[in-house]
């Protein structure tokens, strides 16, 4: 409970400079509940003073009054809604930005353990839920509560007994609606989840259709789909059952209440204790309150869920490190490009220790191939240099300075990291290459593309450098992606270049030409290349073989080839191509 209040306070804190909008909106909603609550009273007057007495002029006067109040009510409703939506949207905007910035500050481990779908859901679904809570739910809560108060006040002035009936009805209906909200939400969550299952099974059937046909298991796959499909159907029917029973039950309660009102009210009229207008007003109140009562029930049923959504977002925000750089971070000017690992240990979030006391020194402008079986820690080594991960023990130094002490912006200029599967953004090639240097001139971009040997290909495209690539554009082959990523890295003119398995996923011919070109590309830079293909050995001054997070062999490629260790054994087997 205390925790919920704390979450709510923190959430309201995001209103910031829109606090006045929020409070103003609520005030208007308050007035609106009054104007709405007074309409049945005016109808009563119209009937009692106008219709029944035959004073139809009075009837018309009251009728016009009703219209006036309705227009006022509409204006209030518009204003209240607008102000609250505005306040809520801005609050959620700040919250969303905070969450997004936090995601960006998170260390890479965070992305290893979190599914991207989860993060997307935080930033879209959870924030949507909070917006709905702050604008719609809060509004309906205030509106409903005050409408009930106003209605009960006017009802009590007309007839106590009937007011008692109304009060009982209200309590019952709110309770029913709260139960309804609490029961139906989880089932709808399940429906959504099951819909996701259906989508993933369908994706499997379509993407894997060749496999299904090859195995000749169409019937079995269809059977599996039918099962999940049936499950979705059952869940939907279950949800409908709840909606039909609990969602409609308030109407039954209302119906009974209105019948009771008619009977006792009718008798009271005959006994001269009540007027026709008053009875009509009572019935009108019940009708007016039908939807607000539902909204009230849903608000109560939803508070927990909305605050849970908020706390999930707060968790993303709070778990992120506050700053990326320590306060005493330094700039490195004129880097030489020396890299050193001093007794480095690293354990992944999965509990797997990948580096166990690694010591390694790479001289400026040296070209090094790091090879070894999968899981030996090769790629991790690169990620430590790029400071995607930080060692749990030991240090990684560039030119003798701990990378943790180098300003991130500076480190990014010195070190260019080309991942195994370069990410191509759904934008033009030009923007993709100029990623690190958005103000780069086209000449600079073309120069980088020429060194990366991708210029000719780009020029052959109808829109040249403005061709949109990626998911919704032209699809690039693995080799083309690698080259774009290289051009991207080259544009920065980095001192250190890190290549994570640049030739995996390339066929033999493309591999061959890329290796040839890399010779020029890496000129004058420190280069650390991680690869399982020994063909890269031709390119480097030094080969390091890693096994289980340790360096087991280190030396010139020719030396290692003759030494009779793991490297020569791998070579002796005809390398990777001989088999």
């Amino acid at each position: 409970m205390g925790d919920s209040i704390h979450q709510l306070k923190r959430l309201l804190g995001y209103l910031r400079d829109h606090k006045l909008h929020f409070i103003g909106g609520l005030a208007i909603v308050l007035i609106m509940s009054y104007t709405n609550g007074v309409i049945p009273v005016l109808i009563r007057e119209a009937i009692d003073q106008g219709v029944t007495t035959g004073e139809y002029r009075l009837a018309i006067r009251y009728a016009l009054l009703v219209l006036l109040v309705a227009i006022l009510n509409g204006a209030f409703s518009f204003g209240g809604r607008y102000l609250l939506v505005k306040a809520a949207q801005h609050a959620v905007y700040h919250l969303r930005m905070d969450a997004f910035r936090a995601i960006q500050r998170h260390r890479m481990e965070f992305f290893d353990r979190t599914y991207s779908g989860q993060l997307i859901s935080r930033i879209t679904n959870d924030t949507e839920r909070i917006t709905r809570f702050l604008s719609f739910r809060v509004r309906m809560f205030v509106y409903s509560v005050f409408l009930i108060i106003v209605s009960l006040y006017y009802m009590a002035r007309m007839n106590r007994a009937l007011t008692g009936v109304a009060l009982l009805t209200i309590a019952l209906v709110v309770a029913l609606n709260t139960t309804y909200a609490k029961k139906v939400r989880p089932i709808y969550d399940e429906v959504r989840h099951q819909t996701g299952v259906i989508a993933s099974v369908s994706t499997g059937s379509i993407a894997g259709v060749k496999t299904i046909k090859a195995l000749s298991v169409e019937e079995e796959i269809q059977g599996k789909f039918q099962e999940e499909n049936e499950e979705l159907y059952t869940l939907n029917v279950q949800a409908t059952k709840i909606t039909a029973l609990y969602g409609n039950a308030p109407f039954l309660v209302m119906g009974i209440a209105m019948s009771v009102m008619l009977y006792y009210g009718g008798r009271a009229i005959m006994g001269q204790n009540l007027t026709v207008g008053e009875l009509t007003a009572f019935l009108a109140y019940m009708l007016t309150m039908t939807w607000p009562l539902r909204a009230l029930g849903f608000t109560i049923g939803d508070i927990q869920r909305s605050l849970a959504a908020a706390s999930r977002l707060f968790e993303v925000i709070d778990s992120a490190p506050e700053h990326i750089d320590p306060p005493d971070a330094v700039e490195l000017t004129n880097p030489r490009g020396e890299i050193e690992f001093r007794d480095v240990y690293l354990t992944y979030h999965t509990g797997k220790t990948v580096l166990k006391g690694l010591n390694l020194k790479i001289r400026p402008e040296e070209k090094v191939l790091i090879t070894g079986p999968p899981g030996s820690g090769k790629s991790t080594l690169l990620k430590l240099i790029a400071r995607f991960y930080e060692p749990e023990k030991g240090e990684v130094l560039i030119d003798g300075v701990d990378v943790r002490k180098i300003k991130t912006s500076c480190l990014r200029k010195i070190v260019a990291y080309v991942p195994q599967e370069p990410f191509i953004f759904n934008r033009s090639i030009r923007e993709n290459i100029a990623l690190a240097k958005p103000d780069a001139s086209l000449e600079e971009i073309i120069r980088a593309a020429k060194i990366a040997k991708i210029h000719d290909f780009i020029s052959s495209l109808p829109d040249g450098y403005d061709t949109v690539v990626g998911e919704k554009g032209v699809t690039l082959s693995g080799g083309q992606r690698q080259r774009i990523a290289l051009a991207r890295a080259l544009l920065l003119e980095p001192k250190i270049i890190l290549l994570d398995d640049p030739v995996s996923n390339l066929d033999a011919k493309t591999e061959e030409s890329l290796i040839e070109d890399l010779r020029d590309i890496l000129e004058g830079k420190t280069a650390v290349i991680v690869s399982q293909r020994l063909s890269m050995a031709r390119l480097v001054d030094r080969v390091i073989v890693m096994v289980d997070g340790r360096v087991v062999e280190d030396g010139k490629p020719e030396e290692l080839a003759e030494k009779g260790g793991l490297f020569s054994e791998m070579l002796g087997r005809g390398g990777w191509n001989g088999g």
Binding site: T52, S77, R96, T211, A386, W576
Partner: protein, 578 residues
């Protein structure tokens, strides 16, 4: 023209949806009951006021009050029935539609998938069917009920008083205009917010998927700026919705009240003249408030009809596609494994032959390696053996029988196909292997995996055989995934094996494992290896070199190497690297 075709579409859909007759009968009964029940309460109220309350008639008043109660209970009862059965009926239609689409996709030939993306097809199975149900089933039936009660209300009003009815109805056109104009704007604005939210989610997706690249190049602030921009656009879209909603609901409310006011004013005048009773006026006030719900619903349906018809069209496009595989033909129990290509020509696209007169005889239990450059037609040959496609001209014979005469299903059951890229289906690794042979047990899977030497590495996965494919997919290399394919193939105990050897680099340990597994699978079976790395050819009895859709060389590996022809050149260019 367009209206005609959408009408035909709708007719066809309704015709098909009528299959669940029993549920539909209940739906129709509940709609009619509900419409009738809505009419009764104001009518009874009028009688109660005029004949009992104002007439000071105590006797029998309880009966009228109970009648009122009964009518309200009936209203609730039919509404509940209607809510439940419309949805059940809709969900039944929806379920059938999804199943039909899924089955159709499974039975389509590979030609069908040529110009369709997976995402698009999944969206047809999941989203389009949903829209169709919301609008054309639930929406249509709900609107039918609405229309019915509207008509009923008008008839009931006419029975009470004609003049008052006509006056009350004057606000209806106003209501229709508000519902159509502002309601439409509101719904469109709302749709826009959905698109903005989708934009936000794609920005987040990109920033998470590309996080390494973004960080490596220090693009954090740009991504943040973009995110801020789409978030601000979302605010604008939502404010637009707030404006239209803010106009729509009060205006609906005011027009609805307008009819109440008209009833009070004119009804009051008539009552003063003695032309109508007070009870009639009260009843009219109640009726007048019952217009807006149905009107709003019908117009909302009209509004979304267009998108629903488009969704329906997309669904039928898939269901009506003619690229379906024919599963009829001779059933084969076991094959000796002899394969013969007889002057086989094949084109994927008209006029562009990929295979040009292939003649090849593969005797039972021989191992043949097919080599050649990318695009030479190697994979096409495998596709033809699998009968994913049939030759454009020429014949493929299995044990002397023309492939076209054998049922695709029974043929494929006898062939173990190991593609380059292993597709892992949602589910566990165990389920993924087990699917190859529905009759096999989990013990069989483990036995096969042990036989192939795959068992140990599967056991090393976080949950062994129960590791989910999604998780395993991230942890497994291409080679390790191919081992799962090999296990699938062996579990089938096929007579013919087709191996599309993986192109991507495999570490030496896995490579040896894959190779050993391949050899074990090929043992005693007719085997066709599509070789990208030529090292594997040394295990073949015969090498076939394909170039430009033709066989240019054929013979044992030793022969061909000695001949110093095509194969020799391919081999030395690949082997001479290190």
């Amino acid at each position: 023209m367009a209206a005609n075709s959408s009408l035909a579409l709708l007719k066809r859909f309704i015709g098909e949806a009528l299959s669940h007759k029993r549920t539909l009968a209940i739906v129709v009964a509940s709609i009619v009951g509900s419409a009738l029940a809505t009419l009764a309460p104001p009518y009874i109220l009028r009688i109660a006021i005029d004949r009992y309350i104002l007439a000071n008639n105590y006797s029998g008043f309880l009966v009228v009050a109970l009648l009122y109660l009964a009518s309200l209970v009936a209203q609730w009862f039919f509404a509940t029935l209607q809510t439940f059965y419309i949805e059940v009926f809709g969900q039944k239609v929806l379920r059938d539609l999804r199943a039909r689409l899924h089955e159709k996709v499974l039975h389509s030939s590979l030609d069908f998938f040529k110009d369709k993306s997976t995402g698009d097809l999944v969206s047809r199975i999941v989203n389009d069917t949903g829209i169709v149900n919301d609008v054309l089933v639930s929406g249509l039936l709900g609107s039918l009920g609405s229309l019915l009660s509207l008509i009923g209300i008008i008839i009931a009003m006419l029975l009470l008083d004609v003049k008052l009815t006509l006056v009350t109805l004057t606000s209806v056109p106003l209501m229709v205009i508000v519902a159509y104009y502002f309601g439409g704007k509101m719904r469109r604005a709302y749709r826009e917010t959905r698109q903005k939210i989708a934009r936000i989610s794609s920005v987040v997706e990109e920033s998470v998927a590309g996080v390494e690249t973004i960080r490596a190049f220090g693009r954090e602030s740009d991504v943040e700026r973009e995110f801020s921009k789409v978030s601000r656009e979302t605010i604008k879209a939502y404010l637009r919705v707030a404006v239209y909603m803010g106009l729509f609901w009060p205006l609906m409310n005011i027009t609805s009240l307008l009819s109440v006011i008209v009833v009070i004013a004119y009804g009051g005048y008539l009552a003063y003249q003695g032309a109508v009773s007070v009870g009639v006026v009260v009843a009219f006030i109640q009726y007048a408030q019952r217009f807006r719900g149905p009107i709003n619903e019908v117009i909302g349906l009209y509004d979304s009809l267009q998108s629903a018809l488009a969704a329906l069209e997309r669904i039928y496009e898939v269901l009506d596609d003619e690229n379906v595989e024919d599963y009829s033909g001779r059933e084969v129990e076991r094959l000796k494994g002899e394969i013969k290509f007889e002057d086989v020509w094949f084109e994927y696209e008209n006029g562009v032959p990929v295979l040009k007169g292939i003649n090849l005889h593969i005797p039972p239990a021989t191992k043949v390696a097919v080599v050649g450059k990318t695009g030479a037609g190697k994979t096409t040959m495998a596709n033809l053996i699998m009968r994913f496609y049939d030759p454009t001209s020429g014949k493929l014979r299995y044990d002397g029988i023309d492939g076209r005469e054998i049922s695709r299903k029974s043929l494929r059951k006898r062939i173990g196909y190991v593609p380059q890229e292993t597709y892992l289906f949602p589910g566990t690794i165990m389920e993924n292997i087990l699917m190859a042979n529905p009759e096999a047990s989990e013990e069989d899977v483990i036995r096969v995996c042990k036989q192939l030497g795959v068992h140990e590495f599967i056991e090393r996965l976080p949950q062994g055989y129960n590791t989910s494919a999604g998780e395993a997919g991230k942890l497994l290399s291409v080679g390790e995934r191919q081992l799962i394919s090999l296990a699938r193939a062996l579990l089938k105990d096929p007579d013919i094996v087709i191996l599309d050897e993986a192109l991507s680099s495999v570490d030496p340990k896995t490579e040896r494992l894959v190779q050993d597994a391949m050899l074990r699978l090929m043992e005693g079976r007719t085997s066709i290896i599509i070789a990208h790395r030529l090292g594997i050819t040394r295990f073949a009895d015969k090498v076939v070199v394909v170039d430009g859709g033709k066989i240019v060389e054929e013979g044992s590996p030793e022969e061909l190497l000695a001949k110093k022809g095509h194969f020799y050149r391919l081999y030395t260019s690949q082997m001479g690297e290190v």
